[in-house]
Subunit: 423 residues, 2 copies
């Protein structure tokens, strides 16, 4: 049967919706190319063989905690909407992120992505409600906004991680247009796609400004463990003023993405005119129950077992991947220095953590640039235009160093520099 | 921090959003009551211990099919948006449902629920676009409509499964109001909550009428394996005219719900004015990539392993649960006959399959009825008002016989009849 596209939601024509599929599938289309495109964690650290051990570890924990009602089969059953492993995650973020909350404040989500969808629809579900994001933006945030029909506005990052003067001006302009900016989405550390980290001063000032502008903040912390310098700055959530922050993270980078387990820390209360206050986490669970019903209990058990076996800290568990990615980042930095020793028309910045290195080329790229580079030079990357809210041509690209081996990175940067020189 | 509810999406105040949480949590609130409330599959058939075996079975299959690129760690990686096990599901529905499609027509979703969300937002994402459903409606459909802000309209089921004359009248009325009814959601077999099955004549006539009214149909088939009579009727999707049907199902009832794996068969093409046609399954993948990114590859591997081990048919795999549920249904039917031998003010109908038996009590229930019955009589059930689009008081209740042991069912119906007599 044929259906005309005019019968369908026009949002489906928005190119922002194709970025995730692009990232999931580009490497399959060019299997021989060296890929700096998707931000995949390196899979040699995934311990799929220990799945059963992790499930059993979690089962034993549950048997100790609720010996009368526990039975392994209940792991397969429908379960609590907001999740089974909230206590363990609560201890994890206390230990690793300095965030103190109650287990009831945690929502276990289908990756960080579902948590974004919940927040966008809860805070920006009405016409004229706007989500703000650093521009270039995480593709999952702008795509979720397109999916839900939520208006999105960009704020430049500048050198401190976000331009606060611009943020205030944009909020005022939106108010002047009868719009209601309500949420600000960002990553304080090692952002995707820019690699940026927010300075300490900016963190403190941002929280004050958000209170003044009555903005809720979503702090996406999925790269937080991947810090390659001596010390990571504290999360927004853990700082004074952090009560207006919803902290979102995921086990996709620390354990593995195939689990599809993320979480949100939602410790705000909702007041009602006609009844007593309810936890915001409960309000969001109503939406979650209509998207995923609940997060896979098998996936939660695998995460739970790994958390228990690691005393609710993942710092040691991820130490070998962090070391590997630090080496990878250093290899990419050195290869770039060697490839462009005195070039002034090609610039890049070295991130202090995360998966991504942003690079500016001598001239704006067109639609064919990536295909040409992949086919003739054997290397792929992501055009920064995929992440810019404007869809304007851009001379910037995102290089991901998270997946290839360090020696492959050196080879890949060699191929990339050959292409750039021929541009 | 306190947030006023007027700052949030007003949809969060809709009681339709609380039904899933109610069903997930009611049994926890009354642990000593006999529960006829949620439609849970009986968990003694869940084979959690064989999780690793199933993953390994699927891994060996992949190793045979793509020996060069296969590596078990890739099971943990981000994967194809529309799923990994589409070929296996394609064979499954050919064998068990008589549905012929291509693997590319399958979307593996986070339960059937995510597939509903995708379809609602793709077909009814604009103001005035309406989804139709049999009323009383599946709570996940009406809740998803509330979550997305999609208007919903009910059609009575009548004796044939859906009142076709009423359906046409409702569609015409909506058109007269400037609205666009676009989707019709239903279960042809053993519907939740009514237990209804659609007659063969109605199936054939419905497909003709849907073509005339230009309605797409979502056929939710999650209870299809649970047929307690000699022969199940063919699905709408497999009949002439089935090309306008999107077939949705799930492994929650046949394997276990904790996997959160369902699927949709989407074999329509989308035409565009300015470019060549695209598969509707691809268009929907753009939305899916912004909700769940992809369905858990570990959960897909468990399903895949079980399908391979069962030659892509689940009929034998579920035979023992079907037998158990047939016994449970019969036990409930007999207990009801014994409890109300000559009563004319209490009526019920015996479903030919599925998990649910609908019952009409002598008078409409109020908000306290369920709590009273749970606390004083030790039995819980679901008010049919939770599923009715009008939220009007109703004398109907839904009894689920899927979870308790048959002897517990007899005891539970005894308690229920004591409460009804005291009403």
């Amino acid at each position: 049967m044929e259906i005309s596209d005019i019968f369908l939601n026009t949002a489906l024509n928005d190119p922002k919706l194709e970025v995730m599929n692009f990232l999931n599938e580009i490497a399959l289309n060019f299997p021989d190319a060296i890929s700096f495109a998707p931000g995949r964690p390196p899979d040699q650290f995934f311990d799929i063989e220990s799945t059963e051990d992790a499930i059993m570890e979690y089962s034993r924990y549950l048997a100790r905690h609720s010996p009368n009602s526990w039975n392994i089969a209940t792991l397969g059953q429908y379960s609590r909407t907001n999740g089974l492993i909230c206590e363990l995650i609560c201890e994890l973020i206390r230990n690793d992120e300095g965030i103190y909350c109650k287990p009831e404040d945690i929502i276990v989500s289908v990756g960080a992505q579902e948590a974004l969808v919940l927040c966008l629809q809860a805070f920006c579900g009405r016409p004229n409600e706007v989500v703000l994001t650093i521009d270039p933006a995480y593709a999952g945030l702008s795509g979720a906004a397109v999916f839900l029909g939520v208006e999105i506005a960009g704020v430049p990052s500048g050198s401190g991680g976000i331009e606060l003067v611009e943020l205030e001006a944009i909020v005022n302009t939106l108010h002047g247009q009868g719009k209601r900016p309500k949420l600000l989405y960002l990553s304080s550390d090692f952002a995707n796609p820019s690699g940026m980290t927010m300075s300490m001063t900016t963190r403190i000032e941002l929280l004050k400004l958000a209170a003044r502008l009555d903005l809720m903040i979503i702090e996406d912390a999925v790269y937080n463990y991947f810090c390659y310098e001596a010390e990571k700055l504290p999360t927004l959530k853990s700082l004074p003023g952090g009560e207006r922050v919803i902290f979102i993270s995921s086990f996709s980078k620390t354990i593995y993405p195939g689990l599809r387990v993320g979480f949100a820390v939602v410790d705000q209360m909702v007041t009602h005119e006609d009844r007593s206050p309810t936890p915001l986490s409960y309000e969001l669970s109503k939406f979650k129950s209509m998207i995923s019903v609940n997060t896979s209990s098998i996936s939660q058990a695998i995460v739970g077992g790994i958390l228990i076996a690691n005393n609710n800290s993942l710092k040691r568990y991820v130490a070998n991947r962090v070391a590997r990615l630090r080496t990878a980042r250093n290899a990419m930095a050195m290869a770039l220095r060697n490839a462009f020793p005195a070039e002034r028309t090609v610039t890049w910045s070295i991130p202090s953590g995360g998966f991504f290195l942003p690079m500016k080329l001598p001239k704006p790229l067109d639609k064919e640039s990536l295909r040409t580079c992949a086919q003739r030079y054997g290397v792929i990357w992501t055009p920064m235009s995929y992440f810019l809210l404007s869809n304007a041509p851009s001379a910037d690209i995102r290089l991901s160093f998270s997946y290839p081996e360090p020696e492959t990175i050196t080879e890949g940067i060699g191929r990339l520099s050959a292409w750039i020189r021929d541009l």
